[in-house]
Amino acid sequence: MRYGMLIDLSKCIGCAACVMACKVENGTLTGVYWCNVYTKEIGKYPRVKKRTMPSACMHCTNAPCVKACPTGASYHTEEGLVLVDYDKCIGCRVCLNACPYNARHYNFTDQRKNPYYEGMEMTPFEKVKNKNHPIGKAGKCILCKDRLNDGKKPACVQTCPTQCRIFGDLDEPNSEVSIAIRNNGAKPLYAHLGTKPSVYYIGSI
């Protein structure tokens, strides 16, 4: 089994609901977003277009962050997820440099000193989620592994109003995601780098 995702850019409306769903599910620190929606401005006035591009960890099969991690803190699960073992992470940030997708994040500040609402105390939500993000450790999208264990889809997939994200098992040729990738000729980002991402895109970036 290898979990993967297909993102259809032609369906993405750039609402950033996935960003918020990720934030609510994982409670990342202030300013840290494991899931992002980037925008692009194409063309020259008056012929200008805006494109959107959702992005998060690509859970690469040949993950450079796993290779570069000096202590083995970054690792693959049997389902192909790339995760970080906080006990092993020394906070060297080589994984941030190794990831060509800018999908790695780092907990620079103490959430108590930099809460969501400046000048206020942490909310009860922050207090609960803060424990999952120790200072001085690298963090990243965990593909909502707890939700997966409960048989649910990742929060970003679940919440997308246009269903531009399809999630499933890439090793299963008849899964919805595998069929969609095949039928649409979907491609991963920066395939030439040899990272073998588990996230594919349809449409131009």
Binding site: V32, Y38, T39, K40, E41, I42, M53, P64, K67, A68, C69, P70, T71, G72, D87, K88, C89, I90, G91, C92, R93, V94, L96, N97, A98, C99, P100, N102, R104, H105, Y106, N107, F108, T109, D110, K113, N114, I135, G136, K137, A138, L189, Y190, L193, G194, T195, I205
Partner: protein, 379 residues
């Protein structure tokens, strides 16, 4: 009387170093506590001053110990060995404040991921420091066996040390500012230059510069200049994204530092050496050039974090860069980072000042370091 005077000067140096070290430790503790604003590092500039310092001390260590291992005169070799070994220790210390969890650093030694190039750094730096210590013990205690062993091993590991670091940087995928194979040559040339500069500065203080040292420093300055010109030329004739980081150094936010490095760190010392004037200033400027080169190298890798998709991309905290590609903001170390960095330098001076008298049986270290400089040679 002179010994007493030198002794008190040495004590003052030690006290100043201890104060700076304490300030550095305080600044580090503020960073470790996760206080906002203590560091200007970010997700788009994950490495900065500390890594640049590591690279500088590593180059200093490799170059100085290479010369110390191959030098023929015992006493100057001993001093070079002490400076080189302390530089190696400082390289290791400079990394510690960069780590988010320094208490787990033991994992690098006892539970490493051997496929990670960073482990090469750990092994080679460890070996270099160990054999540096053995060289010091061998030379100071007249133990021929230890000296001979270090003489065989050190030239190998001091070459492998900068190579290992170069492999770490150049093999990171998608870091266009670091990916050029030219960087491997730059790492070796910088290490050689740094080692020669130490020798040259010491000779300069003693006003007894050996002609061969002067020529070698000039040669390596010119090699460095050639490598810079090579990199710039490659960038100017290229239209790919690979060329953008170097172009950004030429005319971006880092341009003043880049041109300062070229003029102050390479051209002026080269002219001074060619004219046989002010060797001390030439040596110090050359070494300063190495420091700045390392800093620019580190920041260069993160200038364009998004590669090709960065074209026309909009990320609120980043600005548009050269040729429409998204650029990371110019990284300038925070005040706390500077304090930590100065603390690491202070530790180096303190260690040299404490170690030299003991291993050379002299009353003071840094103050009297010049006394035997005229004996230094690299025959």
């Amino acid at each position: 009387m002179n010994t007493k005077k030198s002794g008190s000067k040495s004590s003052i140096i030690n006290i100043v170093c201890l104060v700076l070290l304490a300030v550095g430790i305080f600044a580090w503790s503020r960073e470790l506590a996760g206080n906002p604003g203590t560091t200007n590092l970010s997700e788009y500039a994950p490495w900065g001053l500390y890594i640049a310092l590591f690279l500088f001390f590593e180059a200093l260590c490799a170059g100085t110990l290479f010369i110390a291992a191959l030098g023929s005169n015992n006493l100057p070799r001993l001093k070079m060995a002490v400076i080189g070994t302390v530089s190696g220790v400082c390289a290791g210390i400079a990394i510690l404040p960069d780590l988010g969890s320094p208490l787990t650093v033991w994992r690098l030694l006892f539970a490493p991921n051997t496929s990670a190039p960073m482990i090469l750094d750990v092994w080679f730096l460890g070996l270099t420091v160990v054999f540096g210590i053995l060289l010091i013990l061998g030379l100071s205690g007249n133990k021929e066996g230890l000296t001979r062993l270090s003489r065989i091993v050190l030239p190998i590991v001091t070459i492998l040390l900068p190579l290992g670091t170069a492999w770490l940087f150049t093999t990171l995928p998608g870091k266009v500012g670091w990916s050029s194979s030219l960087e491997i040559g730059v790492f070796i040339a910088q290490a050689a230059l740094a080692g020669l500069c130490v020798l040259f500065i010491l000779q300069g203080i003693a006003k007894n510069v050996a002609n061969i040292t002067s020529k070698l420093v000039l040669a390596f300055l010119l090699i460095n200049l050639a490598l810079i010109i090579g990199e710039v030329g490659q960038a100017l004739y290229s239209s790919g994204i690979e060329a953008l980081p170097t172009k950004a150094l030429l005319r971006g936010g880092f341009a003043p530092i880049f041109w300062c490095q070229v003029i102050l760190g390479v051209i002026i010392p080269s002219i001074l050496l060619a004219m046989n004037k002010s060797p001390l200033i030439a040596g110090v400027l050359s070494l300063l050039g190495v420091v700045i080169t390392k800093y620019l190298f580190v920041v260069k890798g993160n200038i364009y974090p998004f590669l090709n998709i960065g074209e026309s991309l909009v990320v609120p905290e980043l600005g548009a860069g050269n040729e429409g590609y998204l650029m990371a903001p110019t990284y300038v170390p925070s005040g706390f980072e500077w304090l930590v960095g100065i603390g690491v330098f202070a530790l180096g001076v303190l260690l040299i000042n404490l170690l030299l008298p003991r291993v050379t049986n002299k009353q003071v270290g840094v103050i009297n370091i010049i006394q035997d400089i005229n004996q230094i040679g690299v025959n």
